[in-house]
Symmetry: C2
Subunit: 141 residues, 2 copies
DNA sequence: GACATTCGTCTACAAGCGTAGTAATTTTTC
DNA sequence: GAAAAATTACTACGCTTGTAGACGAATGTC
């Protein structure tokens, strides 16, 4: 079990593009560009996106199908993998590795709808009945 | 209410140094260096730290007292401000702004001690009885 | 007070990222 | 099939970050 090659860190813009790709399965550079420009205030040029996408392919975070014209790009990492890795880093960097501290802060500092509160409670319930079986290594604070 | 000049984004190493400074109030470059090298695998040189600290002063994230020899460095932002800003960005970037999603994930994917679970539950309780009074702007999802 | 050590400033440089222009290639459209 | 449009490849450049050397200024030590 060797934590299969953690997802590399990317630049903010690269994450944006990944987001777009997670949403629209395989997409062309043009589609990604449009997806991006539709929302973002700062419009980018086609070639900018191409450059980014190409680099991301080199980093093996995307996959490209060159047989098809225009090329189709597609993520090679799932949103979940990415989230897992980033959340870990984040908790380590800003909360000394104490995930609860972050969780508490989320509850206290962000506007949670009642619905959201219920979801979290349910999740906590589930955790309590399941835990003990799945403790990982590392100081569970 | 103009969100008082959000804390700028820093590089990973810069965050590390901030962490050290949050812990040991005003400290000299040497102290920061030692604090860093004591833990980190990759040892750094004195001048590297000085460069970083100086840049952080320029970014106004640190303050330096030059009257005292060796100079004393000190954060100008609190851990809490920093965390707030970073958590927001993070939630936006990886969870489409849905803080609950991150919270749920924390509960489900990290090893929480029973103590931690209690803390979270307490926090949720507090939230439920307090909420309504303190809703912030922004889509409370 | 001469020598050693520590500190601070300045300069440098490679890698990564955002940004895009230009040139070459491919596809589309008359 | 020639001209126009879209796509892809290659190159470049400025900024930031991590990394540190050189060198002069301040301080500490006999």
């Amino acid at each position: 079990m060797t934590a299969k090659a953690a997802v590399p860190e990317l630049g903010p813009l690269e994450y944006q593009l990944l987001r777009i790709l997670w949403k629209s399965a395989p997409a062309t550079a043009r589609e990604v560009l449009e997806g991006y420009n539709r929302k973002a205030p700062k419009k980018l040029k086609y070639t900018t996106i191409m450059t980014l996408l190409t680099r991301m392919v080199e980093k093996r975070v995307l996959e490209v199908d060159r047989r098809r014209q225009p090329f189709q790009f597609e993520p090679r990492v799932t949103r979940e993998q990415m989230q897992r890795d980033r959340v870990n880093e984040f908790v380590n960097l800003f909360f000394e590795g104490r995930a609860v501290d972050l969780a508490v802060r989320l509850v206290e500092e962000t506007p949670l709808s009642p619905e959201a509160v219920r979801r979290l409670e349910a999740s906590l319930e589930r955790h309590k009945t399941t835990s003990g079986t799945r403790q990982k290594r590392g100081a569970g604070q």
